[in-house]
Symmetry: C2
Subunit: 234 residues, 2 copies
Amino acid sequence: MSKNLLVASTSTVYGSGYLEYLLPTLKDHFYQIKEVIFIPYARPGGVSYDDYTAIAQKAFQKINLTVVGLHTFSDPIQALENAQGIFTGGGNTFELVNQLYKTNVLPTLRQVLFNGTPYLGTSAGSNICGLTMQTSNDMPIVYPSSFKTLGLLPFNINPHYLDPIQGDTHMGETRETRIKEFHVYNHIPVIGLREGSWLEVKDEKIELKGELEARIFESTKEPYEVASGSILNF
Amino acid sequence: MSKNLLVASTSTVYGSGYLEYLLPTLKDHFYQIKEVIFIPYARPGGVSYDDYTAIAQKAFQKINLTVVGLHTFSDPIQALENAQGIFTGGGNTFELVNQLYKTNVLPTLRQVLFNGTPYLGTSAGSNICGLTMQTSNDMPIVYPSSFKTLGLLPFNINPHYLDPIQGDTHMGETRETRIKEFHVYNHIPVIGLREGSWLEVKDEKIELKGELEARIFESTKEPYEVASGSILNF
């Protein structure tokens, strides 16, 4: 067994339903299984775990998959060990990572994903596939015990990557400036994944999917673009 | 002696030079002194402490004030104790707070500001005046030993506050959504300070200055606007 991951920039593209653009891909990705365990810890907008799980359930039932929230298991570690598939939804990455540490599921999640359990991450759920959550866009609303994440990828993800807006009068930092600041203190490459892009990870092969290019930030180079279909290899 | 602070959303408004819009206010604020100690730890864009201090120096010399970087003192704690005035510039709040803890200057900075040393903060330098840095917009590029900040204000600041953009197709969270998520876990009020706004703090009186309204987020209410000239009182 080996890694089998989809690492998506966003759950939802503009003008479309939750996970809708990914459903054909998810059908293939999860074709051998009946049930996906959903990690709802990121709580977008502070939604409850039950309500968030219901949103995921509604999307997955279109491809005949059952979704069960990880929070409903009395032994979440065992639930992950037995999972047929796993999906971590977006929201606030600080709270997601905080809960992954608090509930002590992080080592098990890492182990089963290295061992081949098929996985989908969107946004915060993709951030945690990188080496650290230090290129998250989220607000630090809680203080997690570490910024280290799953290290399933040899780089970090910046989801919802946003190009500088021409003629913008706002003086806050652009996304590119923020990632460059990250590289003052860190040498981890960063993949700026635009909304609608995802990475397909089969063992050590990492391919950019979706229609858009991705922007790559390496600490010693100028940022550059890679086309859809590229294999990411540093 | 009592608190005497300017807490500004940004150093720079669009189409204007560094601190330019604030210079008349700064002239009054620092009228009794000759020298300001500059805390350059936030390093916007990863600029060096020396280069960042030179930028501050260039602005302050227009009002006949000398700027000295805190990093140039062999004993920064003593330097803060003896400071005539203090300015903390913007950049990355995580790195600013990280360095304030590492260099062990935070308790002294807090004490002298409570005791009346005139202070200017912009952006990250304003964030640290609140109870925590948990409503920063910045990327978590380093892991500070705590998110707790100076607590000079009975609330948190969200600098560079940005209204939702009409017709935006980007699916990342709006600033308002992020602050609402903060209130799922915290009850600290948050002041959304738009660029060009600042708070003038004289002892316990906190007044909104500049031309714009500010947006107030209390955990139990719908967000609301307050006009320039309002006294902030919770």
